[in-house]
């Protein structure tokens, strides 16, 4: 049997010639479908070179991506040119009016500024800090498992618990202010929860705290691939730990850094929960700490006063920003490599 299957070039029907009855017909049909291309191939690999086979294997993924990614995206794009309401009803084509409204809307620009700031501050820190953490816990020392688990705990903590814990930390009479006051570093409490800028910065801290453990795992995997020989050679040449980190470790995990940068960039532009937890439904006093997703929820999703068309236009703007940042990150990394 093995010999028969290994000789597909013998032509259709050969492999199934020993099979009697209706089964032979089915195998002949399959044989035609897998027939090698004009080049022929003695080892049978050509069976899998039909142009449509890759499409066939990836079809489930393509269907999922089209259904849950492409279709909603295109639908959002179409919606952005209408005055659709969240609960349906008749939507009218309104041309570019949602986009012109967006460009003249101060609240949109405020949310865009906050989202961009969020990404600009969080991304570099989120690329670097988990790497340092990974370097710290990489070594196999007694009890290191405890620290790895401890750093990972915020990742699996519930958002509600995290929000309450951070409020408790940041309140005027919370742990941080109490410590600072006791250390005579401040006289009046720092208004972490009533100043828009500080709410934004605190939310960034929360994002970092929750993400450190997650990306630390990425880096732990990547650090395993950095050659120990390079470290040893650098050490023998007199390079200290800091120089080895910058000149051996960082280049060794560059691709992971890019991945973390892109993922964090996308996550930062989509941030909502942290602001909501620390700044209440208004997004801080005066709504001054609102980010783009927050703004989209306010203008586009409410069943009573939402305008899904306008919300979709802002979503498209958010997509453009995300795409821009991703491309920028790729370009910068490519430039570095060159």
């Amino acid at each position: 049997m093995v010999t028969q299957i290994a000789k597909p070039t013998a032509g259709p029907g050969t492999a199934s010639s020993a099979v009697p009855g209706p089964a032979r017909g089915r195998l002949r049909h399959l044989g035609r479908a897998l027939r090698p291309g004009p080049t022929g191939d003695a080892n049978g690999a050509a069976l899998y070179r039909r142009w449509w086979l890759p499409w066939l294997w990836t079809l489930p993924a393509i269907v999922c991506a089209a259904g849950f990614g492409v279709f909603p995206f295109l639908n959002t794009l179409v919606l952005s040119f209408t005055d659709a309401k969240p609960l349906g009803g008749v939507a009218h084509f309104v041309g570019l009016s949602n986009y012109t409204r967006m460009l003249g809307d101060d609240d949109f620009w405020l949310a865009t500024r906050n989202s961009l700031l969020y990404a600009l501050i969080v991304v570099p820190l989120m690329v670097l800090l988990p790497l340092l953490l990974a370097v710290l816990v990489e070594k196999q020392l007694p009890g290191i498992g405890f620290f790895r688990s401890a750093f990972y705990t915020p990742v699996i903590a519930s958002s509600v618990v995290v929000g309450l814990s951070w409020q408790w930390l940041l309140k005027d009479d919370g742990l941080i202010n109490t410590w600072l006051e006791k250390a005579h570093l401040i006289r009046d409490a720092i208004p972490f929860l009533s100043d828009s800028w500080l709410i934004l910065l605190s939310a960034m801290g929360l994002t970092l705290w929750k993400g450190l453990g997650w990306y630390m795992i990425f880096y732990l995997a990547a650090l395993g691939n950095v050659s120990k020989d390079l470290h040893e050679a650098a050490a023998m040449d007199g390079a200290g730990p800091v120089r080895r980190f910058w000149h051996v470790t960082v280049p060794g995990v560059r691709q992971t850094m890019l991945l973390v940068g892109v993922l964090t960039g996308i996550g930062s532009l989509r941030v909502f929960t942290e602001i909501y937890m620390l700044g209440s439904p208004t997004g801080g006093p005066g709504g001054q700490a609102r980010t783009l997703p927050f703004y989209i929820r306010d203008v586009g999703l409410d069943p009573l006063s939402g305008n899904a068309g306008y919300g979709a236009a802002v979503s498209v703007a958010l997509f453009v920003l995300t795409l821009g940042l991703t491309l920028l990150a790729q370009r910068l990394t490519r430039g570095d490599e060159e």
Binding site: L74, I199, G286, P303, L304, G306
Partner: protein
């Protein structure tokens, strides 16, 4: 060749997607003459005129809002009784957590034509679903549905349908009421008589100010976030929030609104409210139980929370009537029960909605010793349990206060969407921080709220 074929396929997919997206937008009445509700194809008898008929049998879903934890036994009992009364029926109970994404989840369910058959709603969501045609028109489908209810509550369930006509689309359920809960010791220290609660909102603000002066930063009068007070305070002061036709906000036209904001600023900056509570989601429940604020939540059932969590503060707790101010009575904000027009089993769904809200079940639930809630049916309110409240502990006092106010209460709650309320609150917060004058904040708040009202159509 293959590349061209692939390009053509992708282009075809895009056209198909865009077409499908376009179809999704059209909504409204079905062009092929089929009955639709909110863009979903439904059974012909669920919409239009004529009573709903049909056998009460089959499966339905019933959604409550955050009630399973405390009242699981009660609702399981009601469901069992319904299924026993109507053999062949089955009710699947789901409990929404009622968090910040409550509206979004319901919108998504409605858009997917999968709204639960029977659903517990607040007035805002009920208004939105009725406006989009997702709830049964009870005036047509069951003209007798309103008979068991107190007139004020039945009137409050009048909402606008997609054509703008007034219809009843929900059944009133239970109502909570509003009262003042305070730490008598802190009030006395500030020279306030706990037995004589203020009768106006500004009178209450004066008391807050007295507490701030006597507390000297050790505790506060109340929480700062105006989210808890808008539009309730304004409505109590009889400030007109909407224009007569409901197409614009007019609260800024009343000088008392600016005065109210000026008071809030004075109280915030004068130490009557914790600085970090300006945009905090916390209501006063926990700080009150910890002895950090003098006034607790205005929800009468809050007293139970204090009793359970802080017996020492409970002993000092007093309960008083909420200031009726210029309105002269309170405005109830009942919960409602709606029946989805998209239900595949509407007769059963409507039967269950009526069963749940009937006098017997409302009376049984509202007698729960752990809550201060009142029924909305006439027969239930005649029950001695609600007319002659016994005892003089804070919990009993809360019941008495609400029973008293319900004699004159109306239920014409002012409906603000969350974004509209947030927009107004945000401007008031800026004024409280001194970043805007109260007059400017009120003007800007009205402008932003009007923009949202306009875009909502």
């Amino acid at each position: 060749m293959r590349a061209r074929r692939l390009t053509a396929s992708v282009a075809g997919l895009i056209v198909l997607t865009l077409t499908a997206a376009g179809c999704g937008l059209s909504g409204g009445d079905s062009e092929d003459g089929e009955a639709t509700a909110g863009g979903c194809k439904v059974d012909q008898q669920n919409v239009g005129s004529g009573k709903l008929t049909g056998d009460v049998k089959g499966k339905i879903t019933f959604q409550t809002t955050n009630l399973k934890k405390d009242f699981g036994d009660f609702f399981n009992g009601v469901i069992d009784a319904f299924e026993k009364k109507y053999p062949g029926t089955s009710v699947k109970w789901i409990d929404d957590p009622g968090d910040a994404k409550f509206s979004e989840r319901n919108v998504a369910n409605a858009q997917a034509c999968e709204l639960p058959d029977v659903i517990n709603l607040n007035k805002v969501t009920a208004t939105a679903l009725t406006k989009a045609g997702y709830l049964l028109n009870l005036d047509e489908k069951d003209p007798e549905a309103g008979k068991p209810f107190v007139k004020a509550f039945w009137d409050s369930s009048t909402l606008k349908d997609p054509s703008g006509a007034d219809i009843h689309s929900v059944l009133p359920w239970y109502t909570g009421g509003i009262n003042l809960t305070y730490n008598t010791e802190m009030l006395e220290k500030a020279g306030i008589d706990p037995e004589k609660p203020p009768t106006t909102i500004f009178g209450l603000f004066e008391d807050y100010e007295k507490i701030a002066k006597s507390a000297k930063g050790k505790y506060f009068a109340t929480m700062a976030n105006p989210l808890w007070r808008i539009p309730a305070d304004w409505q109590q002061m009889d400030i007109k929030v909407y224009s007569d036709d409901g197409k614009s906000f007019v609260f800024a036209d009343d000088p008392r609104t600016t005065e109210w904001v000026a008071w809030m600023k004075k109280l915030y900056q004068g130490g009557a409210m914790p600085k970090d509570s300006l945009s905090s989601s916390d209501d006063p429940s926990t700080p009150y139980s910890n002895g950090q604020v003098a006034y607790g939540s205005t929800n009468p059932s809050f007293v139970r929370f204090v009793k359970q969590n802080s017996p020492s503060v409970y002993k000092k707790t007093g309960v008083g009537q909420y200031p009726f101010d210029k309105l002269g009575h309170t405005t109830g904000a009942p919960q409602y029960i709606g029946t989805a027009a998209t239900s595949k089993n509407a007769p059963t769904a409507l039967a269950f909605a009526k069963f749940l809200t009937n006098a017997e079940n409302q009376t049984a639930w509202c007698k729960d010793p752990n809550v201060v809630i009142f029924p909305t049916t006439t027969e239930s309110l005649d029950d001695p349990f609600f007319t002659t409240v016994k005892g003089n502990d804070p919990f009993a006092e809360a019941r008495k206060v609400v029973a008293e106010q319900l004699k004159t209460a109306t239920a014409d709650e002012v409906v603000l969407s969350d974004p509209q309320r947030n927009a107004i609150v945000a401007e008031v917060q800026l004024a409280m921080q001194g970043k805007k004058s109260p007059a400017q904040a009120v003007k800007d708040a009205q402008e932003k709220a009007n923009e949202l009202l306009k875009q909502g159509g």
